[in-house]
Symmetry: C2
């Protein structure tokens, strides 16, 4: 029987009970990467520490000056723009916390077999670019327009479907200014690095990473709802394969703890000395501003209100929080839990779905505080 392209792909599946990670999941974990959690110290994530997820390969762009972004479809004047032509247009810089929709997936039971994130698929950057609404204004959107479709240069096969990476936004999101969607050419004051979409990418503040199309080469305005693979098949919240499911959209609230003390190499258990420990971390939500963070140092039996850093005016970026803990010898479990101003919060138990998307169950950080006895090597 002749092998077909679809044969190199396997259908989405769930790991069986107790099944360790496979080589396919490891291959994704080794090439993509999360934020080492201690790097939440930095307001803006230093280059190379921001999370990265690439569905296929990082495209080869030998000459960024030759890149063209086309704007076409249901518009009066199609555009073809170089990066330089975008740079001379009005620009906006937005500090943005970006998170992968699959963050937390590897902690689910049963585990959806895909990129196996624990909780570290996050990062914060200053993105600079042209507001998308200005480009769409310039092109002149026709009255029958419904969706705007964004196509990247990354190409591959996924679940049997060969594709360029494509996502759509409804016209009201694409042309709105809350948030201001950007066609970005700059990250932290420099051109985009290859893995973050060089030379151009979409930036949609508050949305999970799947909306942030990298290596952006085309914007097409369409008069029917976009039903591409990444819109209608992947990135849906559903319990059963055959369900249509709900789309993954904005980032659910999450707080993470900067793991205190120092780690064990292999178990990553934290060790802290007895006495005062300043617990710090970050919290964010793409749905509304962060309203509060609660901290537990006893695995959720009691909760304390953390201090939220004053609002720095970066609505789409994470906020620093802190809580003064007094560690006593023994084993502890730290938890932080964010709530946003729309009342969204983090569940203590897993909100399971088949793709492992938008999972914002609270993080649990095991900490060991040794007895400072004379026989202890510390």
């Amino acid at each position: 029987m002749r092998r077909r392209l679809a044969d190199v792909s396997t259908p989405a599946r769930l790991a069986s009970s107790g099944e360790g990670l496979g080589r396919d999941e490891l291959a994704l974990a080794a090439r993509n990467h999360g934020l080492p959690l201690e790097a939440m110290r930095y307001d803006v994530t230093p280059p190379g520490l921001h999370y990265v997820l690439t569905h296929y390969d990082i495209p080869h762009v030998p000459d960024a000056a030759a890149w063209r972004l086309t704007v076409r479809g249901r518009v009066r004047r199609a555009l073809s723009l170089s990066v330089e032509q975008l740079r001379i247009r009005p620009s906006v810089t937005t500090r943005l916390t970006m998170e992968c929709a699959g963050n937390g997936r590897a902690l689910l039971s049963p585990r959806p077999v895909s990129q196996p994130w624990l909780v570290e698929a996050v990062g914060t950057a200053d993105w600079t670019g042209v507001p998308l609404r200005l480009l769409l204004d310039e092109a002149g959107v026709e009255p029958d327009a419904v969706d705007v479709v964004f196509t990247g240069a990354d190409h591959g096969v996924e679940r049997g479907v060969e594709q360029d990476y494509q996502r759509g936004l409804s016209l009201d999101i694409a042309t709105g200014d809350r948030p201001e969607v950007l066609v970005a050419y700059g990250m932290n004051g420099a051109p985009l690095p290859p893995q973050h979409g060089s030379p151009l990418r979409l930036v949609v503040p508050g949305w999970y990473g799947m909306a942030q199309v990298k290596w952006l080469r085309d914007i097409t305005v369409v008069d029917t709802p976009f039903t591409g693979f990444q819109q209608s098949v992947a990135y849906r919240i559903k319990q059963e394969t055959e369900e249509a499911g709900e789309p993954v959209t904005r980032i659910a609230p999450r707080a993470l703890v900067i793991p205190p003390g120092f780690p064990d190499f292999m178990s990553r258990t934290r060790v802290v000395a007895p006495g005062p420990v300043l617990l710090e971390g970050r919290a964010w939500s793409g749905r509304a501003a962060v309203a509060s963070v609660q901290v537990s140092t006893d695995g959720g039996r009691s909760w304390h209100r953390a201090e939220l850093e004053p609002d720095q005016g970066h609505r789409w970026a994470w906020r620093r929080w802190s809580y003064r803990w007094s560690a006593v010898p023994g084993d502890h479990e730290l938890i932080a839990r964010a709530r946003d101003e729309a009342g969204n919060t983090q569940p203590l138990e897993q909100p399971w779905n088949r793709g492992g998307f938008a999972n914002n169950r609270v993080q649990r950080v095991p900490v060991f505080c040794p007895d400072p006895g004379p026989t202890d090597p510390t």
Copy 2:
């Protein structure tokens, strides 16, 4: 029974037959990361794509100007140097391919349970710093000196032992100029990023990553052989736990293929169209210059000599190679195999050891070339 610090650590172990990766291995894979193999296109790896392995946390260095590097022990004049004082000394820039000693570990059977690399723990950078031999000259090494011990600011527990990360070099390597060991403050023309050792690190061309002490804060010359944990317990090539084993030192030769065509998201199988395909990759060895690369497109049944890019004068950096392949429909397995001028080469079968170190078995890249028939979706 009172818990001790050692209890947060487990002894080194081997995975049992068929055991998938555990959460501990995943936690390391998610925070450390490899080079996405398509990024071997770049002579110098762009920021954020170079492999990173951190045993403990990335240390917090709020003020690099306050950092001091001490040089002491069996020297006539102890030194305490700021980064600025190092910058005004004579400097050398070396283009260097660095590889983790554990690269290839996750492919071993049985698999040593540790950072689970496939083959991607590599990267190339231009490192700038002061030759170590000049600093040791300045300090005046005593005649009874044997080893030089390097201490980083990264602190943790490993296999029950609390430690600052420390490694030693024999005096002849430390003061030699083939290779020229550097105390580096620059990477690719910029200050070191946090994850690569900011503000100072050791650079030992040709040696595996464990020798390249990051966040370097002390250099101590000693008159007895250094027997710290990372020298005498970890990073030893041995078959049994109780053996002393041989030290891990210089990088064994390796060639890797830039995976051609495009990937399937989950299996990472490559898809290429029938016809000419330029296979390209990189090859390196820390033991001698690369002499040749052989390529097989049929899983090792036949071999062809690849073309090596002319020597660019970067002895310690990888070399580009290429081979023109004509792909025909069907399944293929690509292999590249490097040989260096000292006659070292890559084994086809695994050279197993208990830590999974210095494993340079050849990479195998599965490729599917679809039949361009009328029923094929491509």
